[in-house]
Symmetry: C2
Subunit: 343 residues, 2 copies
């Protein structure tokens, strides 16, 4: 009996696994030519590609040894991607920055499930009709070796249906194993500044959204110490949302690099390393059970190695582990259970 | 913003997280007294508790050093559980055998989703009315240290609604990192013998069901080399299904212990250990994304540490890893991609 007999449509988004064709030279654009250079599709791709270059260069410089390896691919229907992954660096165990450009179609219910709000996404479509869509995003996770250096994740994306419905989503968040209030003030402060430049309500709203989104419900704790998260943004002009995404991407290295630089040579014990690996176990739990991007990717025939690049190289599950009361591990656990304000 | 603001009902089965009260002495029965000693509810609990004792004793003997630690709890509405977990043994990294007895109620759709067939499960209930149910099961995962010793999982369960609908489910399956055809012949052969005693069609049917169920769809591979798996069994008398479950539980140590005994002292390299950890990464992917018991447990307020006991102590994700053609790793990978017959 082969897996093709599964009752559930394994591929509701009509892209298909194993339809990725590896390529050596990446074309100037992964969007379709008919989208045009002035389209938001093309502009968002350019934004993501420039950010990918800038961030990878900054991380290589910080690492001092590791180099990103690039895998690029195209898909028969248009679209493609470019994964850049650094493994076994001096500072980073695993760091990935992935661009993806997707043309597909999906059932109206799948489209609803792919977004937080879900309403009105299938405008102009008949009941039951599949919705052609375009999505472009840059997604990244960085796992440093030193348990005193936090993991960082960001994702910025633009979504559009052929019916003309569009929205922006994204966020940057940080996952330390040990709490350093000054680091958190710097990281959150950097994003508060970006938010404040665009909308006085953004930071409070998107910080709370991150605390809620990055919750591991079955544990009653967050996976990390948050940052900002937003989805379904289309209440301003496309240019305004684009400018906000652009500033958020610009702020990634400013928010993260100094934190890693400060701790990359900190001494640590084997017990601290094991605590970090247990927190990485929680990272795996969140990503495989709750993360919308991961679950969407796995079910829509995304390139598996690119999607699961977000998982740490090693993770640990220790039965019924509880940190010693009063320990640094118990301190940060309290912050995972009761999200705090940092700025 | 706290996690209680999540839009989705976090607790659709009306049991509730953190409603487990730890107890020191386990009562003779975790079922409600009104169920009576002759009920299938009580008989299945006795079966599971005896099997738990027998299997834990056999595993302790095989390990030679590690001892199971017991955690027991009861729930306010009746029901409870008993987890036995061995960690840091000589042979086993982590082995758990968990009994759980659950009284709850769930929406009719949740009940449908909890079973493969899903039809007619809510017999006698009005539309929209929650369905009170009883579930009792014994569930186990054993992760040995040596990469030449396979991981083994089994689960046997009995489900009943207050409307009088009932069914049995279960299975035992094996997950080696290296292929040993004689081991697989022994393991599958043991269960074929049990199956043949009860129904000539069982082995072929339940072996194929396991190959299908234990598929990691996004990888196009199985998590291991199968065994037997069945659900929704109610086409014979309850006594007949009970006898089959009983014989399957009896066969666990016979099928598994000799395989581990044969390989527990095999020499291995660091590279072989890493391959085992990568396969454990796949185990984590299956359990968190597809396993019905895990997903059901996480969403119904099961005791998290008991449910996630199934995860290995350590797991590894290495970017875009492909085994050397012709290597033992490539050989077993072929069997994961194209399920084989072993007996």
């Amino acid at each position: 009996m082969s897996t093709t007999e599964a009752k559930v449509d394994p591929n509701p988004v009509n892209i298909g696994w194993d339809t990725h064709k590896a390529i050596d030279a990446v074309p100037d654009s992964l969007t379709r030519e008919l989208d045009g250079n002035d389209s938001m599709r093309r502009r968002f791709e350019v934004l993501c590609r420039n950010a990918q270059d800038q961030i990878c260069a900054a991380i290589e410089e910080l690492d001092g040894e590791g180099k990103f390896q690039q895998d690029a691919w195209v898909r028969p229907n248009g679209g493609g991607g470019m994964s850049r992954v650094l493994t076994g660096g001096k500072v980073f165990e695993k760091a990935g920055v992935n661009l993806s450009v997707v043309y597909g179609s999906m059932p109206q219910e799948a489209l609803a499930a792919a977004t937080e709000r879900g309403v009105d996404r299938a405008k102009g479509m008949k009941p039951g009709e599949r919705v052609p869509f375009f999505a472009c995003g840059l997604s990244s996770v960085m796992h440093p070796k030193n348990p005193h250096c936090p993991t960082m994740h960001f994702n910025y994306r633009y979504f559009e249906t052929d019916g003309g419905v569009w929205w922006f989503g994204g966020g940057t968040d940080i996952t330390p194993s040990y709490l350093d209030a000054a680091d958190m003030k710097h990281f959150h402060g950097t994003y508060k500044e970006v938010c404040d430049k665009h909308d006085p309500e953004y930071y409070a709203k998107f910080k709370a959204w991150a605390d809620k989104y990055f919750t591991i419900a079955h544990r009653g704790e967050t996976r990390g110490l948050g940052g900002i998260f937003f989805d379904d943004q289309n209440d301003k002009t496309p240019d305004e949302h684009f400018a906000f995404s652009s500033d958020c991407l610009d702020a990634v290295t400013k928010a993260y690099v100094p934190v890693v630089a400060r701790h990359k040579d900190d001494e640590y014990t084997q017990a601290q390393k094991e605590w970090q690996l247990m927190r990485r176990g929680r990272y795996v739990e969140f990503n495989l059970v709750y993360d919308r991007g991961t679950v969407f990717g796995l079910k829509t025939g995304g390139r598996i190695e690119s999607i699961l690049m977000s998982l740490p190289e090693t993770a640990r599950w220790q039965y019924d582990h509880h940190p010693e009361p009063g320990s640094p591990e118990a301190d940060i656990m309290d912050a995972f259970k009761n999200p705090r304000e940092w700025v």
